[in-house]
Amino acid sequence: MEAASLNNVEVQAPDLDIDRTDRRVELLLGALASTILLLIAGMILFVLIKALPSFTHNGLAWFGAGGSVDDQLMDIFNSPADPADYVYHLRAWPLLYATVLITGVAVVISVVFSVLSAIFIVEFAPDRLRRIIEPVVKLLAAVPSVIYGLIGILVVVPFVAHHLISEDRKESVAYVIQLDGTSILVGIFILTVMICPIMIAIIVDALRSVPDKWVEGAAALGVNRWRAMRTVSLRAIRPAIVAALVLATARALGEAIMLSMVAGSVGFAPNPMDGFTFFLEPARPLASTIVDNAEGLSVVPFGQTMYAFAAILLISSAFLSFAGWAARKSFSRYTLGAR
C-alpha cells in the first residue's frame, strides 16, 4: 500500500535515475525468475504428455497389483515395432509400494533420530564433542549417494546375508523370492543414514536460533531443561522440522542409484505377513526402476512407461512441497515476528 502511494508522488529529477536503475534490475530478475518457472512448467507438461499413453491404456489399474511387474516391463520392452501393437499392460503396485515403504520408514526413523540428536548437540553435548560432531554432520550431508551405495553393497549387504539370513529363512520364501542380502532392510538403513545429516543440520541451526529468553522464561516458571526443550524450543521450531522433513523426503523419494544397488532391484512387493523375513526381502522403488532401465528408453512404449514413473515422482514431490508449505504456514502462526 505504502509503496503504491509512493509511486504516485511526483519524483524529483535526480531520483528518476535511481528509479530507472531499480526498474531495470527488477525487470532482469523478473525475467530470470519467469524463465525458471517456464522451464519447470514446460518440464512437467512434457513429462505428463509423454506419460499419458501408459496411464490411458491401463486406467486406474495402473496403480493396482497383478502379475509380475518385471515380466510386464519386459513385455513392454519387447513390444512389436508397429505403433498399433505397442504393449502397455502394467500393474505398478510393487514399485509404488516399495517407494512408499522405503521412503516412509526411513523418513520416520530419521525424524525421530535427527530431532533427538539435534537436541543432544545443542543442549547436552560437551563443547569438545560438539566441535567434532557438527562439521562431521555437515560433511556427511554432502556425501554423494553412490558412495553410500558402494559401502552398502560391499559391507552391509554381505553382513546381512551372512548373519541375518539363515538357510531356513531362505527356504521359507524360496518359492516366491530369493534372499541374497539386498533387501529393504539395507535400503531403509542406508537411506536413513543418508538423510539424517541433512535433517540434523537444519534442526540444529533452528534450535540455535531459539531465543535464550524463551528457555529462561520456562526455567523461571519451574520447568526443567528437558521439558522446556520439548514444550518451548521444539514447538517453536516446528516449521524448520517440517522444512527438514520435506527436504529429506524429497531426497529419499528421488534416491535411485543407492537403492538400486542395495535394495535388490527386483519388482517385488515384500509381504508383511512374513514376519522378520519381510525386512530381508528385496524391492525396487520408482526412481531405481527408471535408472535401471535407462538403456531401454528408445523403445517408445517402454520410454513412455518410464515417463509415467517420472510423472508419479514429480506429482508426489509437488504435493510434498505443498503439504510442507501448508504445515509450515500453520505452525509458524505463533512464531511470526518472534526473532
Partner: protein, 314 residues
C-alpha cells in the same frame, strides 16, 4: 550478557576479595522468621514528603511479614565476586527495589533468589536463601521457581497463543495435563490481576507475540501469577517499554504488592521512588544501604548512597 558485564566490572574492581566458597551445606531445614515488622505509618524522623507518590502512603498501612531472606549470600563467577555477603529481607505486602549502578550485582542477586543464576555454568554461591522459614536448598529447584516467579528485562512470551502462555506453568506442573475448562478460571484471574484481561478477553487464541511490548510484559506477569507465586522478581521490567506502558506496569506492580512480595531491580530512581516501599542500594557487590524508601531517598545514611541518589535526583 548482563552477567558477563558484571563479572568483568567486578573482577577489575579493587578491593573486591574472593570469599571462601564452600559447597552448600544445609544446616537446618527450618529457620525462624522475623514477624511483625511494621511498614507504616511513615517514620516521622525521616519524613516521606518528597515521595508523596510512594505506594506505601496511598493505601492503608499493612502489616508486613518476612517472606524471604538471604544470609551472607555471596555469588562469584569463576573467581570474580558479583555479590558479597548480602543479607536481604523480602517482606510480603511490600515492593522492594534494588538500585545501584550497572554491574553492582543487583541482577545477580535477584537471579539468585530463584536460583536462576545457577544456569550460568561458572556461577558459584555461598550463604543461605530462606523462603518461608525453609532453606531453599532443601527443596526442588523447580518447586522454588514456581513459588518465586520472575519477569525479565525483555518481555519473553512464548510463541503460543495468549491462553497457552498463561496456562503454560500450570500445564507443565504435573504429569497429568489439566483440561482447558479447568484452566480457564485461573488464566482469566491471572490476566485480570495483571491488568490485561480487558484488552485480550476477546482474542485469547491470538498469538502472544502479536501483542505490543507493554502488553507482552503484562502477559509475562500474568504467566507468573498463574502459578500463584509468593514472591515476584522483576528484572528491570520496564527498560524496554515506552512511558505509557511503564506507567501501566507500575500501577500493576503496586496493586499486586498486597498479594505477592515484589522485588524489582531498576536503574530508574524515579521509578523506584514511585513504587518502592523499601529500597536496597548496592555498590560493587556490597549492599550499602537497606531501608524504607522514604529514608533511603530522603535521608540516606551512607555517603555512597547519598552520592548515587543525589545524582539521580539532581
Amino acid at each position: 550478557m548482563e552477567l558477563k558485564e558484571e563479572q568483568t566490572q567486578n573482577g577489575s574492581a579493587p578491593g573486591a576479595e574472593v570469599p571462601p566458597l564452600r559447597q552448600i551445606v544445609v544446616e537446618s531445614e527450618t529457620v525462624p522468621i522475623r514477624v511483625g515488622d511494621y511498614a507504616g505509618p511513615p517514620d516521622p524522623e525521616y519524613g516521606r514528603e518528597p515521595w508523596q507518590l510512594n505506594a506505601g502512603l496511598d493505601s492503608d498501612p499493612i502489616w508486613v511479614e518476612e517472606r524471604m531472606r538471604t544470609e551472607a549470600l555471596s555469588i562469584a563467577y569463576g573467581g570474580k565476586v558479583a555479590v558479597s555477603a548480602v543479607d536481604l529481607e523480602v517482606n510480603s505486602g511490600e515492593v522492594l527495589a534494588l538500585i545501584g549502578p550497572s554491574g553492582c550485582g543487583k541482577t545477580t542477586l535477584l537471579r539468585s533468589l530463584n536460583r536462576l543464576v545457577e544456569l550460568t555454568p561458572a556461577a558459584r554461591r555461598t550463604g543461605r536463601i530462606i523462603l518461608d522459614n525453609q532453606d531453599v536448598d532443601t527443596f526442588d529447584v523447580t518447586r522454588l521457581r514456581s513459588r518465586v516467579g520472575m519477569l525479565f528485562q525483555q518481555p519473553n512470551p512464548f510463541p503460543m497463543s495468549i491462553f497457552d502462555n498463561v496456562a503454560y506453568g500450570l500445564r507443565e506442573r504435573g504429569s497429568k495435563k489439566p483440561r482447558r475448562k479447568q484452566l480457564e478460571p485461573i488464566v482469566v484471574d491471572a490476566l485480570e490481576r495483571a491488568g490485561l484481561w480487558d484488552e485480550v478477553s476477546s482474542n485469547l487464541n491470538h498469538p502472544a507475540l502479536a501483542l505490543s511490548g507493554g502488553q507482552q510484559q503484562r502477559l509475562c506477569i500474568a504467566r507468573s501469577l498463574a502459578v500463584s507465586p509468593e514472591v515476584l522478581l522483576l528484572d528491570e521490567p520496564c527498560s524496554a517499554l515506552d512511558p505509557i506502558s511503564t506507567g501501566i506496569i507500575e500501577e500493576t506492580i503496586v496493586e499486586l504488592r498486597n498479594e505477592v512480595a515484589i522485588v524489582i531491580v531498576t536503574h530508574n530512581l524515579q521509578q523506584a521512588a514511585r513504587i518502592a516501599d523499601r529500597v536496597a542500594f548496592m555498590y560493587l557487590g556490597d549492599m550499602v544501604e537497606y531501608g524504607p524508601a522514604g529514608q533511603v531517598f530522603g535521608a540516606p545514611r551512607e555517603a555512597r548512597t547519598q552520592e548515587y541518589v543525589g545524582g539521580g535526583f539532581g
